[in-house]
Symmetry: C2
Subunit: 306 residues, 2 copies
């Protein structure tokens, strides 16, 4: 398959244009997003939906999140990632396959309707995880486009995937919230270098490859600056697979946590990784496609917003 988004194969960074649509569905009055929401996602690459889940639903997710963090019996050890230099859990992967409640979240009918609209296809879970950013010592995560990694390391052919971050704790300006460069999803910052085998073992703790260069980042931040995705528990943040994002460290006492689900269009299933290295394991990048069947909503549907 032709590589439309080559990266990590030259010794200087290149900025390439996006070749894929952002909103793949066609908007109409029946769409699950307002026209303004669809237009914002198209132009800026993200949507912040406060109170997408009710306090009752979030309480269930929070409880399950704490249970999984404690490493219960049955949780596969390789899916649990700890902080560098400590035993503190940073992420638990493949939560939709290891927890009934998280499976229910991943197939929440209201959410899936939005995701299908944006991707214009049946969808499946490419990756899911719980992220814990502890208070006092939450580490920064440097700027990156998820798609760059998914393309090079996992073999995702096109930009037809998105991430949903469901906030389980208050994300303020101070406790290391998701920082985004609005509009950056329209360009592809190809990185220098190549990818070693088993890069993921390190990259989940600290990135060293696939890092955009300062000049590209400056250019991407120019039009709209840097925006923090803040909100209370229950907020859903949906962002395009190629949006440049990262987060600062968190020295505040307030921990931060979220449930993170990546959906890919079924037509965009993984092929051989474009970087040439062996594929990352299934729990990080699903190669087996199981289309999500919309399940019972975690919350009763909201009244139509018109």
């Amino acid at each position: 398959m032709e590589d439309l988004y080559p990266s990590r194969c030259t010794d200087r960074p290149v900025m390439l244009p996006r070749l894929d649509p952002v909103v793949h569905g066609r908007w109409g009055p029946d769409a699950p997003l307002s026209r303004a929401q669809a237009e914002q996602f198209e132009a800026l690459g993200f949507l912040i939906l406060p109170d997408f889940f009710s306090p009752a639903a979030i309480a269930r997710l929070q409880g399950e999140s704490e249970r999984l963090r404690a490493g219960p019996a049955g949780l596969r050890a390789e899916t649990v990632i700890t902080e560098r230099g400590s035993d503190e859990v940073r992420s638990v992967f493949e939560i939709h396959a290891q927890s009934e409640i998280m499976a229910q979240l991943a197939s929440d009918a209201r959410l899936i309707e939005v995701v299908r609209f944006l991707l214009g296809d049946e969808v499946y879970v490419h990756q899911s995880r719980l992220n814990y950013k502890p208070g006092f010592h939450g580490r920064e995560f440097y700027w990156h486009s998820d798609f760059e990694t998914w393309h090079v390391e996992d073999g995702m052919p096109r930009m037809r995937a998105l991430s949903v971050s469901v906030l389980l704790a208050p994300n303020s300006e101070h406790n290391g919230p998701l920082l985004m460069m609005p509009g950056s999803h329209m360009q592809y910052a190809a990185c220098v270098g190549e990818t070693p085998d088993d890069h993921y073992l390190q990259s989940l703790k600290k990135q060293e490859y696939g890092i955009p260069d300062p000049d590209s980042l400056r250019r991407l931040a120019e039009p709209h600056g840097v925006l923090a995705a803040t909100g209370g528990p229950g907020t859903a943040i949906i962002f395009d697979c190629n949006l440049m994002h990262g987060s600062n460290s968190n020295i505040t006492p307030a921990p931060r946590s979220n449930a993170f689900i990546v959906y890919n269009a079924v037509c965009n299933r993984l092929v051989k990784p474009f970087g040439g290295a062996k594929p990352r394991p299934e729990f990080i990048a699903a190669r087996e496609v199981r289309p999500v069947r919309p399940g019972r909503a975690l919350d009763a549907p909201l009244a139509a917003a018109g």
Copy 2:
């Protein structure tokens, strides 16, 4: 001299009450701060004064800051601190003694009037420096009370000192601004452990001693949370020597820089360090007291605000 604020001498953290006033001058209609400002400083431990310096004055300070950062002839090498693992300049110390413009800043008549009022005495410069927090890779600075260090490592007897940070670049919520715990200056979080000789050589790059414990920090943050001191160039941030503060990392493209001057009351001059180790060098903690003579203001005096 009796040690009223013992720290780093037990194996568990202790919270002690502040034994000194915060505003040492007596407020009256002639005071250089409004009554509300004086009361805020007393209660919360800081003041943010937007546009304290004019754009013209700031342009001069910015130019001088860049000149000093480049390491001009005459700058003493030991006063220049670089980032861990790079040659990038993080701080230049003793700027008031190495630069005429910075000396003028440190003796700015309007500023000195405020500082003298708050400290209720003649004042001298305990420490001065330029701080550069680069874009993309600005490191975090963990929570600390300056006084704890100045007391233990420098021998500052009482809480009768304050810091003035003059912003030379925009400090937003995202580029690693000063984070403060309002009201935390009323308690003294004594730390565990002891101080090795020449600790300052490391501590300027990364703190490992004199670090408050999580429980103390949680208690200090409880009443008022965490506040970011944001503002544009020209903003002056004045904060008490015992205010708990720190900053997150800065992955944004926007660098952050400020001129930082610590004033101590002449009556509070340094004695033998309470931690027992040898004193830090003069460029970090002045042992020779030279009272500041108020000089020409960097800006013409503003009209009285009433």
